[in-house]
Structures are given as structure tokens and as C-alpha cells.
Amino acid sequence: MTTATTAHDELHAGAAPPPHGWRRLLAPGWLRVPWMSALFFGIGLGITLLVRWAEGWHPIWDGQVITTIELVAVPFGFLAGIGGFDYWTRYAIGSPTQPEDHSGHGAYSWRDYFRINTDHKVIGVQYVVTTIFFFVAAGLLAMIMRAELARPGMQFVGNQVFNELFSVHAALMIFLFIIPAFAGLGNYVIPLMIGAPDMAFPRLNALSFWLLPVAGLLMLSSFFVPGFGCGWTGYAPLCSTHQELGAVFFNMGVQWAGASSIMTALNFLVTIITMRAPGMTFWRLPLLVWANFTTSLLVVIATPFIAGSQFMTMFDHIMHTNFFNYEAHGYVLGYQHIFWFYSHPAVYIMMLPGFGIASEVISTFARKPIFGYRLMALSLMAILVLGFSVWAHHMFVSGMAPWLRVPMMVTSVVIAVPTGIKVFSWLATLWEGKLNFSTPMLFALGFVSMFVIGGLSGIYLAAVPIDIHVSDTYFVVAHIHYVLFGGSLFTIFAGIYYWFPKMTGRMYDERLGKLHFWLTFIGFNATFFPMHYLGIQGMPRRVSDYAPRFADLNFFISIASFFLGASTLVFLYNMIVSWARGAPAPANPWRAHTLEWQVSSPPPVFNFDEIPQVVGGPYEYGVPGARHAVFNGDRVIEEEEVNV
């Protein structure tokens, strides 16, 4: 650590001394946040009242409208206070700027993680830790739901509260955990993997992180304004005209989270296109980079549609417009079309980066090249394109135009083909490999097996007659948890364990990691597998009470889910204790070939002293003499070997 401080001092040599006294209120940071937020609150309020007064709208003081405006204004104040816009403001008014200012790089104490920081590695850690916080929060909400569902009849919470629980649970898990957790892991490793010193737009990167806590707080606080209980899908007109103010908190939370993921995706794309190391052609990119490349394309193209849909419901709600109002010639089903045109691609946004992680982990721990590398990349592209043609399989029972059903059924089944290609490629990679069952590998294998189950129930659901029978039942709940928990979450765990040594410079406890895997694997299956059966028997989803004949299975599921919830404690304990006191990690504990493992753990502030030269594919395990990259004079690689 001493050495790092030296580098830090060098960076700050020549920079202005830190401000003193009241001037500290002007410097970017937490001291500036309160008064800037208050200022923006005032501006938002002032403008609203002024416009309403000038236009003669009554009443001038409309609580709903003001709240909505403030959900935009106050976060801007917060972001301005923390320092998200300082550089651009200076640029805009033509003041001198310091484009090559590296004072925002690196973290030298835990405090640096609470500041605006432009280092992709710090941002990656900020992302992962924040998203795990929301993961735990959303998980606790699920525990309350399972407690309520343990027996038929009403136990702990009322209907409306139950609705709020599952709505916020899903919203947090999707928008504040799975999507940004992948963005965080990608943030940390993509620049390292492609041999770049940082992301293309470090300041944009910092800003996109700080939008997340804003979005998360909005969604959490939707409990305390009269609640948001119309489901994460936010269907109109239920969510537009029949809801309380909490729905607006959800609408705006989605906007902030969506803006964050568009900004990150744009950054990923530009970084991957323009900053690859010499020799790093597209066909030599690690599959994680490919996966994030396709995901980012999906995000940039699809996310604006959910933004649009949330604006429309919000306007219908607050301004009484008529997008989805049948009486005024609005088109009610329009909401679902626009929403699913985003949200089906979004299920791939939640899955493709996981495919990438699984490929990295499986190849490294099987000590074999990825089977069919090019086809792996191409099938990602196929999923990207096909993903836009299946949205209405969520609407088979909505009353939409009947001729849409069969085409959407066909495309939904077809999209399983590229997905199947990937599964077979993982299996072929494992075939005759020298398997090493470390925790990341266990989670990756758990992912492959569970995801196949989820994919199969997806095919069932894509068949119109079956879907008509099980739509809106626990069968769908089982499907989404097999793909999102068994799929996405398992790969997130695999990724966190895999890169933990790189990110923290310490090893996690392997025994606890394995224990965590087995508890999760068993708890997960015990919780979600019986839901298939419940669904086929007709138990509806999103209800707080159910017929007595479902009681036994539900009791079993609730017990299993508490067990599953408790398994997370093992994970948290392992992460916290290992981060503080784990054994120091060597540069390359997994003997992987990709570039992030060729630098120290954690990597130096600027990743590489000189940009490496890429000379081969990333997965040439067991191929004699094969190398992925060479460093000038091979210095770094030699060091690493001494270290191991």
C-alpha cells in the first residue's frame, strides 16, 4: 500500500491545495450535496409554481405535480453536488479544463469509494457493492412475502402491502441488481481485458454509477408515499390511472436506472470499438467482451422504449393525458406492446453478460479452449436480432390481435436455437477437460444446468395453448426464477468469486464459497421447482392468499426459501471477512490467459505500464506455445510467475 501512496502524491503534485473553511462547501463532495439539492429543489418548485400561475392552471399548488418535478430536480442537485457535472460546466462556459486530470483515479482509502471517481476499477467496485446492497434489500422483501404465503389466509401484511412487496422486490432485483451488477463487473474487467488504461469516457462512467443510488432510493421510498403495487411491469391503466403516488416513484426510478444503463452501454461500446490493444481483433476478444458488446447494443436500442412507456403512464397519471385511456380514443394495449418491446430484449440484457462470464469461467477451469468460439459470438448476435421479434409472447392472453400469436410463438421457439448452441458449446468445452471444481466453476456449472430448465419452461410458455393455461400462474414465477436466479444470479456469483482476487487483491475462503454454492443450489431448487407444479395446478401469481389445497407445498416452499435466504449470509460473511483479512492474492490464481490476469492483483492505477501486444486467442489452454499477449520485454509476465 505504501507504494500506491507514492503514486498518489505524484498525481497531486502541482494540483491546487485542498480548500479550507467555508470553501469546502464549494468543492465537489458530500458537503456540497445538501445545499445543492436544496437549491435545485427550490428551482424546481419555483419554476413549477411560476408556470402554473402564468398559465392559470388550478390549483397552483398541486402536490402530485410538484413531487414529480422534484423527482427530476433533486437528483440533479445531488449529482451536481457530488461533482458529476463540474468538468462539463467548466467546459460549457469556456473556462480552462484539465482533460488529463488523473486525480480522480485509484482508491487509497475506503473514503474514496464514496466520492465521484473516474477510475473504472473503483467504479466497478462501487457498482458491485451497491448492487449487492439492493440485492439484500430486495431479498428481504421476498422473505416477508414468503412468510405471508406460508399459510393460506392473511397473516402479516394486507393485500396492498403484499402488492407493494412483490412490485418493489422485482423492480429492485431487475433494475438495481441484475442489470447494474453485470454493468459493474463489466466495468471492472472490460478495459483490462482489451488492454485499455480506462474506459473511453471516465467522467460519464462516474456519473452513470451515481445515478444508481438515486434510482434505488426512489424505488425503496415508493413504500412510504402511498405505495406502488401494480407489479414491475407497471401495466396501464392499472398503473396509470388507478394508482397512488408511489407509481410515479417507480416510473422515475426506472428512468434514472435506464439512463444509467444507457450511459454505461454507450461507454462500453465506444471503449470496445476504439480502445482495443494492438492485435486484439474482434475474433480475439474474450467472450465476456463479446457478450457485453451485444448487451450494450441491446441496451442502447431497447431501453429508450421503457423510458417512453414510463413517461406515457406517468403523464396519464399526473397530467391526465390519454395515451392509454380508452374513453378518449387512447390505445390501452399500446402500453404492453411498448413495454415488452423493451422488456423482452431486457431479459437478454439480464442474461447475455452472464453467458460471457460462464464462458470465461468454464474455459479457464476446464483448461480447454472454448468449443466453437466464433459460433459463440455469432449466436450472441443472433439472439440480439431475434430478441426484438418475440415481445408479444408476453401478451398471448392480453386480447391483442390474434394473428400476432403464431408468428410470435414461432420466433420465440426459434430464439431457443442460438441459446441452445451456447449450451452445447459449454458442454463440449467441458468434455474431457481437466475440471477444477472451485467455487466460480461450481456456480458456472450450476448456471448451465439450471438455465436449461428455465429455457425449457420458456419453450413451454412460448407455445400458445400451454401459455393460455399457465399464464399468470406460479409456472411463470418458476420460469423467471430459473432463468434469472438459476441463470443470471448464478453467473453473477461465479463472476464475483472469479474476479474477487483481482478486485480486492485477496483470496476468498474456498470452503465457505463451496458451502455457499451448495446451500444456494439446494435451497434454490427446493424453493422454485415445486412452483412449476403449483402453477400447472392453477395457483395464480401476485396474490397474498390462495386456496387451502395449495397449503402444503407453499409451506414447504416458504421453509426452503428461508433456507435459501440464509445461504446469502455465508456469501456476505465470506466477502466481508476475506476482503478485510484474506490471504494476499497472486496475480493469476486461476492461470487464466486473458489480460486482466497478466497484471498484479489489484491492478496498478493505470492498468498497464505499457499497452500489451495481443498475439493469439484468449482461450488457448493446453495448446503448446500458445500465447494470448506479450508485454514489452515480457516483464510483467515474468513477475507474475515469480509471484505464483
Binding site: L266, F305, F315, G330, P584
Partner: protein, 199 residues
């Protein structure tokens, strides 16, 4: 952590390898525009549902659309794209006065467009509450107006910088990228104008 050779790490990042001929910021702007196009796309989808699928007459009976004013406004916005282009060409040739004049004119025309639009809103005779027609009219033109506002903010920054002596024949990336956005706003208006007023 062993202190192996860490002291030798550079205090400055290595120069990133430029792996594409495309300029990073230009590419970023194009991707941003792609997502903006999709945002408009979602509102055009709503427009499609309301007007085509629901067979709404356009405009429905008592209402009228001020096509002529909108046409004049379109002409103003299209002209501003040319002045934008002119300012960029000027700075490429080192003509600072041309840059400043071009940007100022663009800014003024953009402002005129926005103000005309707001005045029209006030006397158009219907509101966002008047049927789905009113909703989609105001949301499409309003969404576009919001983009004009963003474009004007960018233009204002560019103009300020131009008057404060920034930009040169070698370094005019800011003008170029801001200009791309302004052209996007312009093209988008032509589409909105055609679908909402003309067709």
C-alpha cells in the same frame, strides 16, 4: 502484497491504442442519437396505435392544426442546419468570425423556432387532455421541443467557447459533435412535422 516492482508503475496512463479510425466522441454521439431515435420511436409507436390502429380522424372534428406556421418554423430550423454547417466549415479554414457568426445565427434561429412553438401551443385551441389526439400531438412535438432545448444548451456552450477563443482548425471536435446533434434535431423535426402536420 509483496512490494515487487510496484514502485515502478507509471504516474500517468499509457497512451491507449486507437483501434478504430472512428473518433471516440463522434461514435459516442452517434450511439446517443441511436437511442434518441428509439425514444422517438416509442412515441411514434403510440402515435401509430392511436391514429392507425384506432382509426382516429386526424385532426378529429372541431380541431385544426396550424400547418402554415409549422411550415415556416420548419424552414427556419432547416436553415439553421445550414448555418451550423457553415460555422464548422469556417473554423476548419481558421475563420473565427465565420464560426462565431454561424453559431450565433444557429442559436437565434433555434430560439425562434422554440418560441414560435410555445406561442402556437398557447393558441392552438386544444390541450393534451383533448382526446388521445391532443395527447400524442403535444407529446411528439413536446418531446421534440425538449430536444431543441438540449440542442440549444449545447449550442450556447459552443458559442460561449467560440467567443472566448476556443476551437481552431486543428481542434474543433466540440463544434463538430455539437453540430451532429443539431442536425439530428433538425431531421427529427422534419419527420415529426410530416407525420403530425402533413400526412
Amino acid at each position: 502484497m509483496s512490494a515487487h516492482a510496484e514502485t515502478q508503475h507509471a504516474a500517468h496512463p499509457p497512451v491507449a491504442h486507437q483501434s478504430s479510425r472512428v473518433d471516440a466522441r463522434t461514435l459516442g454521439m452517434f450511439l446517443f442519437i441511436a437511442s434518441e431515435v428509439m425514444l422517438f420511436g416509442s412515441f411514434f409507436t403510440a402515435y401509430f396505435f392511436i391514429r392507425v390502429v384506432n382509426h382516429q380522424p386526424w385532426p378529429p372534428h372541431p380541431f385544426h392544426l396550424p400547418v402554415f406556421v409549422a411550415f415556416v418554423n420548419t424552414a427556419i430550423l432547416v436553415t439553421s442546419s445550414f448555418t451550423m454547417h457553415w460555422s464548422l466549415q469556417s473554423i476548419k479554414r481558421g475563420n473565427r468570425v465565420g464560426l462565431q457568426a454561424g453559431l450565433t445565427l444557429t442559436l437565434l434561429m433555434g430560439l425562434t423556432f422554440l418560441l414560435t412553438q410555445l406561442l402556437e401551443y398557447a393558441r392552438i385551441g386544444f390541450t393534451p387532455h383533448d382526446q388521445a389526439f391532443g395527447t400524442i400531438f403535444f407529446s411528439l412535438t413536446g418531446l421534440h421541443g425538449a430536444h431543441v432545448l438540449v440542442g440549444l444548451t449545447i449550442l450556447a456552450a459552443m458559442t460561449t467557447r467560440a467567443y472566448r477563443g476556443h476551437f481552431s482548425p486543428e481542434a474543433h471536435n466540440g463544434v463538430e459533435i455539437g453540430g451532429i446533434y443539431w442536425h439530428f434535431v433538425d431531421v427529427m423535426w422534419i419527420i415529426v412535422f410530416t407525420t403530425v402536420y402533413v400526412l
